[in-house]
């Protein structure tokens, strides 16, 4: 990405992938984002930090994914009263991130939509948890706010409120449908119910233990988060990680992708009225998790990736176990894919359901798996190819349809590609150490970790404080960007298709609520 014509200097930024930082002023931020957008860049994350203790006011951070790496724009806001331009006019996904940044830090954008996003009346509206002088008082009780949903009016229009407690085993969130008959005119999401103060919690932790919290931002992506966190800390300390550890991390990450895709394919079948699919895929997923338990000491490989490496090596004979399992999975998934493809009832539910056209996907910045199913060919494993993906050469899977069929197809194809990668990892696993000890991280140095999880790219931004503490850590889930697109995907569909469309995106609540 070429930012030279804007006249802002960029500098290298420690990160797990190619990255630069670019300090800008307020008007420069907006024009930089415009230039980035014109060159095909997409918004990855936006967050703020309180740097008043270092006489630097507040800092707004914006990360975009350009063709040749990540760019971190930094804007200093001298006081809490200073505002910054609404980036939603360039990147629509910025809207909720800006509102959340206000709720948590008290710095506001100049956007029209100033409704709270994370705040739900459980702390005073003039108190901002991520400020360094914030103190929670025990007298603050859980509250409820009246959220200003946008209403549709007219003959026969009515409203269906759903949640936060849903009818299945799902995370909590509120959906407000405006419908006529069975047709959805509008869906508006209200999230934030599982906000549990993760970013503030980081600041009470030692940097070398932060991966444990990162691995619990969204449990289904624990490997991706822990790896992204480890990448960030390793970049700050500038210590190379043993090759074997990186390959083992990739093994865990690809197995996480396989397990989640298998689970989703089962539930997509089930939501399409085909319980056979759920039984079969949940069986295969269980086998993968059981093997994980033997390989990584945990069914989800939680806490397997740690700063400096991984926690333990493979037991003897693991390579054979893994290869045999890959063969079995490939065979079984092929049979099931044929069954799905040939099942008229299922295809009738999947086809044309919840369409996000490539043009809309590009406009809204749809990312990750759902993005690739709408022609958005971005995959951090391929675009930036951090080790070991530079050697492994992951193939990018895309589809153009943008409907449930496409999101199902991308999952099937990605399972096959991940099985190929798992075999390649086992075949060429380097010998050597599995971990190295990191020195105390230097304070006030920012870094990024960026890992393509099964749902999409996971970003972890880290800045350490003196004595190996965490000064600020912002973990960022692709769900931030994709949740608003789901609102578009359901327009014109019927209410009973919502669970199917929702499942085909399978976004994280915890990952965006933090």
């Amino acid at each position: 990405m070429d930012l030279s014509r804007l006249g802002f200097a960029t500098a290298a930024l420690p990160a797990g992938v190619p990255a630069r930082r670019c300090p800008v002023n307020a008007t420069g931020l907006l024009s930089s984002c415009r230039v980035a957008w014109e060159q095909g860049a997409h918004l990855v994350a936006l967050w703020g930090s309180d740097d008043r203790d270092r006489e630097r006011g507040f800092t707004l951070h914006v990360v975009v994914h350009g063709g040749d790496g990540l760019v971190l724009f930094e804007l200093t806001l001298p006081t809490a009263d200073s505002t910054y331009p609404d980036l939603g006019v360039v990147f629509p996904a910025a809207n909720r991130m800006q509102r959340a940044t206000y709720d948590l830090l008290g710095i506001a954008s100049e956007g029209d939509d100033q409704r709270p996003w994370v705040w739900q009346a459980s702390w005073p509206i003039d108190q901002f948890p991520l400020r360094r002088d914030f103190e929670a008082l025990p007298k603050w009780q859980p509250g409820q706010e009246e959220y200003a949903f946008v209403r549709v009016e007219g003959d026969g229009v009515h409203e269906i409120p759903v949640g936060p407690v849903h009818a299945g085993i799902i995370e909590p969130g509120h959906f407000r449908f405006q419908i006529v008959g069975e047709k959805v005119l509008r869906l508006e999401e209200r999230l934030g119910f599982v906000h549990k103060g993760i970013e503030k919690r980081f600041e009470a932790m030692a940097a070398v233990t932060g991966h444990r919290l990162a691995g619990r931002v969204s449990g289904d992506s624990t490997v991706a988060y822990a790896w992204a966190y480890a990448q960030a800390l390793e970049a700050i300390t500038d210590v190379p990680v043993p090759p074997r550890a990186l390959w083992l991390r990739a093994l865990a990450l690809e197995r996480e992708r396989i397990a989640n895709h298998l689970g989703d394919l089962g539930y997509l079948g089930n939501d399409g009225g085909f319980a056979f699919g759920l039984v079969q895929f949940s069986r295969l997923k269980e086998l993968v998790l059981r093997t994980n338990s033997a390989l990584f000491g945990h069914r989800l490989a939680m806490d397997y990736v740690a700063p400096g490496g991984v926690m333990h090596d493979l037991a003897p004979g693991s390579a054979t176990t893994i290869r045999d399992e890959c063969d079995m999975l490939e065979r079984e998934v092929r049979v099931l894919r044929d069954i799905y493809d040939e099942h008229d009832g299922l295809q009738d539910r999947f086809r044309g359901c919840g369409i996000v056209t490539p043009a809309l996907a590009a406009q809204l910045g749809l990312t990750g798996l759902a993005g690739r199913a709408s022609g958005q060919a971005r995959d951090a494993r391929c675009d930036f190819a951090a080790r070991p993906y530079d050697t492994l050469g992951a193939r990018k899977v895309t589809a153009e349809g943008g409907d449930v069929v496409a999101r199902v197809a991308v999952r099937f194809d990605e399972i096959m590609e991940s099985l190929r990668l798992v075999r390649a990892i086992v075949d060429a696993l380097p010998d050597g150490e599995i971990a190295t000890v990191l020195p105390e991280p230097p304070p006030f140095r920012k870094s990024l970790g960026y890992v393509e999880g099964w749902r999409g790219p996971i970003l972890v931004a880290l800045e350490c404080g003196p004595g190996g503490t965490i000064r600020r850590c912002h973990p960022h889930d692709p769900s931030w960007t994709n949740w608003p697109v789901l609102e578009h995907a359901v327009i014109g569909n019927i209410v009973p298709d919502f669970p199917l469309i929702n499942k085909s995106f399978n976004l994280s609540y915890s990952g965006q609520d933090l």
């Binding site: 549990k196 919690r201 931002v217």
Partner: protein, 181 residues
């Protein structure tokens, strides 16, 4: 259709024997035999995510797979608390979910059981108590059984759920034996 039947036949029955109840998970004196007698072994569960990272939900989902086959034990997840005998609650309880959790508890008919799931549900876990988190489930509603683990394995979940409905469940600090065979 033939493909489907062939796959079903080839897969066979994978269901494993259920584990024994782990009575150490019972924490409350509310686990009395009259509750258990009323509910019997056929049980309906309403799962409530009160703030979890969704790791516990993954393992609760796994209870439905053919290996654990929880429905084969007469235990079913239901869509409404009004149909439920037992609330299976993951935590930590976020402040934003506290009212919804309390309302779900109130909507569940008596007699009812509450099982707190995961290290966070049992103790607040890594998230603890903060401006945004109320910590353990027992800080918000009464809890009968606690299933630790991060996340607990499906086997541990079954052990805890079975402990909650076991007619032999001793309440801590009371006589454990019952007149059930």
């Amino acid at each position: 259709m033939l493909h489907i039947l062939r796959q079903i036949a080839k897969t066979g029955i994978k269901t494993e024997a259920p584990p024994s109840p782990d009575l150490d998970m019972a924490v409350a004196a509310r686990l009395q035999k009259d509750i258990v007698k009323t509910l019997g072994r056929a049980l309906t569960i309403r799962q409530v995510d009160a703030g979890s990272c969704n790791g516990c939900e993954l393992e609760i989902h796994a209870l439905g797979n053919p290996y654990y086959n929880i429905e084969g034990l007469g235990i079913k997840f239901v869509a409404s608390p009004r149909h439920a005998d037992l609330l299976l609650v993951t935590g930590p309880v976020s402040k934003h979910m506290a009212i919804a959790l309390q309302r779900t508890y109130d909507a569940t008919p008596d007699p009812k059981l509450v099982v707190a799931v995961g290290d966070c549900g049992c103790s607040g876990g890594i998230f603890g108590e903060s401006y945004a988190s109320l910590g353990r489930v027992a800080n918000v509603i009464p809890v009968d059984v606690e299933i630790p683990g991060c996340p607990p394995t499906p086997t541990a979940l079954l052990q805890g759920i079975l402990a909650a409905i076991s007619a032999h469940a001793p309440a801590k600090g009371t006589e454990g034996a019952t007149d059930e065979p």
